[in-house]
Amino acid sequence: MRHVACIGAGMTMFSRRLKETGKEMCFEAARMALDEAGLELSDIDTVVCGSAPDAFDGIHMKGENLLDGCGGAKKPYMRVFTGGGTGVLAPIAGWWHVASGVSDVCMVICEEKMSSCFPHPQSAFAHIWDPILERPLQPNLVWIFAMEMNRYMQVHNISKEDIALVSVKNKGNALDHPSAQLAAKITVDDVLNSEVMAWPVQRLDISPPSDGAAALIFAAEDKVGPITDNPVWVEGVGWCIDSTMWTNRDLYFPQYVARAAKMAYRMAGIHNPFKEIDVAEPYDPFDYKELHHMEGLLLCKKGEAATLTKEGVTQRDGDLPTCPSGGLLGVGNPIAATMGVKACEIYWQLAGKAEKRQVADARTGVCQAWGDLMQYSSVMVMRS
């Protein structure tokens, strides 16, 4: 298998509303990644775009519309889309473009412009539901998370206080991220006093909708040398989808995350994830999700993630720094563009470029994205 490295990354600000168009955001992220790698667009053979529902940007086949900002004109250009899982699935697609030998240097751009959707990006989520079984009930997206959170809390007897610690940590971590939309020093009480949306979910348990873009460049082993002496190697990739029928499974444990993680760890030769991984960026659209995914990523036993959080293990100076970027909760959630705080963050961490967010001695890292109807996960392991 051809060895592939990340050699440059970029992202825009994340914000509830950005002035830039989707194309412009793509360009900014791509330009930043190219500059970091010291490359020009002509050095890129193939381009992969990751972007989640067209409904947000308000353009059918939006991948086609974004392609110039992504640098895809006159090139092999392709879009992949697996809901919220796109943030790590798109870089995995970039990986296979290069690992297959078809391409030597592939640039991956992820973009989302949720602010174009009126009256509120939530409206686009009305269409993720099954038209026969679910839409007639007029569900709100928060319900499905609330039901999963409730089940997770019940099975493991986890309190809201324990879960709120994740929100406190991530929003706090985000204070060191220049792109952050919702960085703040909050307390557990702030979370518990915030507006109840759908019990047990409260306002400060949730990440915000955002506009943003991110870019990541992959290069084949034999091309890396002249470009950089600081490559970050892709060691393992995994992805998995569960059945559409989320009502037919017990939501307390995300099996599909575990399968994706096992696939990635097997490839990376990792047998004891907690010991061998130095930094983790699991997907955190809600605070309980970080815990849910830590367990799915086999970083700890089922039901144990809240304890690790309480003990400070997941702080930047803990044994397993988790979401040092500030994650979706702190930096923002532009669906596919969350690659910027997942895959790009792990790259920056392992390359020693994470500035104020830098985790000491980070050599092996894992990033994960999640999406669809409590259904999808993509996982990538990297090493410097």
Binding site: M78, A126, I241, S243, T244, Q255
Partner: protein, 383 residues
């Protein structure tokens, strides 16, 4: 690195409406047939699944959610490509080449009959600032392009009508096709003007249908079948997305995609080394444009050649023996996969009364108005 072959193929009929099945059931049918054809159990033998779809064709945000159960992908690696079927094949090809996957299934379908406001959805793909406010029926883009193509190449509207006659007649021999007809050039020329110079019969009508192909690495391919169809090369590309900047008369995306596919396939003289082609013909003139862009005839000559019968079923270089989109129906993003399917059937000797001679075929796709994107795949009986 391993070679990659297509070892299983399955599809439903291509019909203008399919009210008796849901989109899930149509996918299941095609998938079942493909797995049966390959003799594989998707739950045990298939490592990865790829679908090719766009939300707005289907009516869902995140259509990816609704795909795994009916193709056997529950709790398996699966992705959705927002591209046509040949892009899906390209992803499967790459996944197998990495060594990570051995057997990959690629699915694409059209259930476009479920979409009531097709015109509005196609218009929704236009640039929201520069193009969409002009409104109108989006197919006027086809009219603009056709006019430029005819002007630059000297091809005539009659030449384009020949494409329609050829393809719909070819479809008579394709039991899967839904829009077969025995027409004359005169009938096409007299059909209702729609987006001048495009006339009604120049435009492929919409169809429902699903196609699934199963790919495998060389080792598995030889275990699974005595009749693998080898992927010799694949390419995909986009021209600029801007209508204002594109080459209206050349399919630049096909030029790039085909060049890359031929390079991979080590083909230097496509016209000589390829025996037949299945190219996109959602509009009649597109077939000519794609033939030229894929270097299957000298530039600007496709119009003259089609009228001379060069691309007929019994001509020197058969194009769209399946009937193409004009004969089978426009299968939206599944069109490319239908073209690849035809090449597979032909190379296996399973094309019934449509059978051609040939050891190498190429399938060329286009993603439709308003895109300038498409893919090409070269398939052969030998790797």
């Amino acid at each position: 690195m391993t070679r990659v072959a297509i070892v299983g193929a399955g599809c439903t009929d291509f019909r203008s409406i399919t009210p008796e099945v849901s989109w899930k059931e149509i996918m299941y049918k095609a998938a079942s047939r493909a797995y049966h054809d390959a003799g594989v159990d998707p739950r045990r033998d298939v490592n990865s699944f790829i679908t090719c779809a766009e939300d707005y064709w289907e009516g869902f945000s995140i259509f990816d959610e609704f795909t795994p159960d009916q193709v056997g992908a529950v709790l398996r690696p699966m992705i959705t490509t927002c591209g046509d079927g040949i892009y899906g094949l390209a992803n499967a090809f790459m996944q197998i080449k990495t060594g990570l996957m051995d057997v990959v299934a690629v699915e694409s379908h059209s259930k476009i009959s479920d979409l009531i406001t097709y015109r509005d959805v196609v218009l929704f793909a236009f640039d929201p600032v520069y193009n969409r406010p002009l409104g109108g029926h989006p197919y006027y883009i086809g009219g603009l392009e056709m006019r430029k193509y005819l002007q630059k190449t000297g091809a005539t509207e009659e030449d384009c009508a020949h494409v329609v006659v050829k393809n719909k007649k070819n479809a008579m021999k394709n039991p899967m096709a839904g829009h077969e007809a025995d027409l004359t050039v005169d009938q096409v020329m007299k059909s209702q003007p729609m987006f001048e110079p495009l006339k009604k019969l120049d435009i492929a009508p919409l169809s429902d249908g699903a196609v699934v192909l199963v790919l495998a690495c060389e080792e598995k391919a030889r275990e699974i079948t005595d009749n693998p169809v080898w992927i010799r090369g694949v390419g995909w590309a986009s021209d600029t997305c801007w209508l204002e900047q594109r080459q209206w008369w050349r399919a630049v995306y096909t030029e790039i995609a085909s060049k890359n596919a031929y390079k991979m396939a080590r083909i230097s003289y496509p016209r000589k080394e390829i025996d037949f082609a299945e190219v996109d013909d959602k509009f009649s003139y597109k077939e000519l444009q794609h033939i030229e862009a894929a270097q299957l005839c000298p530039p600007g000559q496709a119009g003259r050649l089609v009228s001379e019968g060069y691309f007929d079923a019994d001509g020197a270089f058969p194009v769209n023996r399946s009937g193409g989109s004009l004969g089978c129906g426009n299968l939206i993003d599944a069109s490319g996969l239908q073209r690849a399917l035809e090449v597979v059937l032909q190379l296996r000797g399973e094309a019934g009364s449509r059978q051609l001679d040939g050891e190498t075929g190429v399938a060329v796709s286009w993603r439709g108005v308003p895109t300038a994107s498409g893919a090409s795949i070269v398939l052969g009986v030998d790797p």
